[in-house]
Subunit: 325 residues, 2 copies
């Protein structure tokens, strides 16, 4: 990939400020784990797998700076509550000695890359020739250490000559679809059309949409899936129109400790992020907006889950995953 | 209402430039029917009933300026294709002598005001105490000559103490919900929360939504309804969640010449209006957006239609309306 979401260089973590894309490519240099917590919190870096990798490097910085590790872990884990990869990566770091933290962070990153490739290979089999695929938010290279999750699948299917067009939800309020996914699709030369989120139903009804594929931030043991706000609505619409609905999930995003979607914590962010767009107020100042950053899609609306080990029905996830290495 | 969408003054039509709301209140003075066609085309004025009234005054200007009336009528009718009120109002003007055009335009406007009030009264009966209502786009005073269609119903129900809260879809790409509906609700002191369009499903699922009510731009004889893009998706979501879905329709928006939604022309506007927000590009320049301005909701997803004559099921619309004066 041409532009990486993060890179470790000279004992510092450089994190791409994705809020400025596609207009500007600018990296923030993180020297401390506090710096890392801040770039996660302010969404310079986003995407469950990328957040996990970056948090692991944050722990490496904490060790390097001789900081109390338990406190550093808590700070990083609290930066964003919904994506489980964050807690997963930090907890995994704590299982190795601090002298091995940097090595472990690099291993987590390398593994994510390999997991991305495996998911892409398994997921691409779901698509037939001339597919029109709809996706939401950004799940590409910018959201991971590799080719992405859902967008990685789309990219691989495209390479195999199976994808005719991608409908990209702009994904309000942060516009990850318009700013990030469209940008990655331009680089991959994949034909695409940007749509506002409220157009998805119209195109499912008036044009052929072969499948919807999205990423995820935390999947409960029963297959209920938390992902970017708007995913649940898309799943309902896909069901109504008979369109298969796929979730691309690295197993690091599966949280077997959580039984069902009801127990997944949903981050509510500030009203300002909805009513302000780069300093322009889009609503009267007396008006407050709601801003759940995620929603939960029940397993029954998910056709299949793509993992690095293969494709599985959400109902079979738990027993199936336990059998895996 | 404090700020009118349009006013006739000193033989000129002053039209509020709604694209600048809520930041700026500025009227454009129309001296010719070409001026009027332009403010309709560029969406300074929008909302099916308001467009009808403004076009009628456009015909009055054409007559006053001794312009060829047939050509003026064609120009005005071509300004926007979907809302039938535009053609309805222009055709109605042509049935009276040009010397009576101004009088007829005033009559159309007065009638719209009365129709709004009657709809509000009938529609308010659909709501029970403590209702949480979700609405899309703008259907208030700014979209009509009076209190509005769907928003007029909400306002009346609120006056009767039945509305606890309104969820306002921001309504991309033009943000009529955020900019116009929220602004009207602030003025009416009705409690409301702004949401991005992709949050509607989440709140239908996690909070009680008592009803969805929207306006319409053209209703076919079978009850299929063209309205602002995003309406169809909302109707599917409402059905899935068992939430009643109402359409507020002045009978001037009913087009008995059109059998079903399949035959309603859907305006496709420019990609630029999606990818640019006040001069800020939100996607890579190589990315093109789709921009259907409307979608069609089939009658089977509509619980009831509120008209100035009363509330009717969409299937009964045709036979019912023929019996009315």
């Amino acid at each position: 990939m041409a532009v990486a979401a993060f890179t470790w260089r000279h004992n510092r973590l450089a994190v791409l400020d994705q809020r400025l894309l596609p207009r500007q490519i600018k990296y923030t240099l993180c020297r401390t784990h506090q710096d890392v917590a801040e770039v996660i919190r302010n969404m310079s870096v986003r995407g469950a797998p990328a957040i996990g990798c970056v948090a692991a490097y944050g722990m490496a910085l904490a060790a390097r700076n001789s900081q109390p590790l338990k406190r550093a872990a808590d700070l990083l884990k609290a930066a964003r509550p919904t994506a489980v990869n964050l807690a997963w990566a930090v907890d995994r770091m704590l299982k190795v000695p601090p002298s091995k933290f940097l090595e472990e962070a690099r291993r987590i990153t390398r593994e994510d890359l390999a997991v991305n490739k495996a998911m892409a290979r398994h997921g691409a089999r779901l698509f037939r020739k001339n597919s029109v695929v709809l996706t939401h938010c950004n799940t590409g290279a910018l959201a991971t250490a590799g080719v992405g999750t859902a967008l990685g699948v789309i990219g691989e299917a495209f390479k195999q000559g199976k994808v005719k067009k991608v409908f990209v939800d702009e994904t309000r309020p942060y516009l990850q679809g318009a700013r990030l996914t469209a940008w990655e699709l331009v680089q991959m030369r994949i034909p695409h059309e940007l749509i506002t989120d409220n157009m998805a139903a119209h195109f499912m009804n008036t044009e052929k949409v072969s499948a919807v594929i999205v990423g995820c931030d935390r999947v409960a043991a029963n297959g209920d899936t938390a992902n970017k706000i708007g995913t649940y609505g898309l799943a309902v619409l896909a069901k109504y129109h008979g369109v298969p609905f796929y979730v691309a999930m690295p197993t690091s995003t599966l949280d077997l400790k959580i039984k069902s979607g009801k127990d997944i914590p949903i981050e509510e962010r500030s009203s300002d992020e909805v009513v302000n767009w780069r300093g322009i107020q889009i609503a009267p100042k007396q008006t407050k907006a709601r801003h759940p950053a995620f929603d939960v899609t029940p397993a029954r609306l998910i056709t299949a889950i793509v993992t690095e080990h293969g494709v599985v029905k959400p109902q079979d996830l738990k027993k199936w995953i336990i059998r895996k290495p």
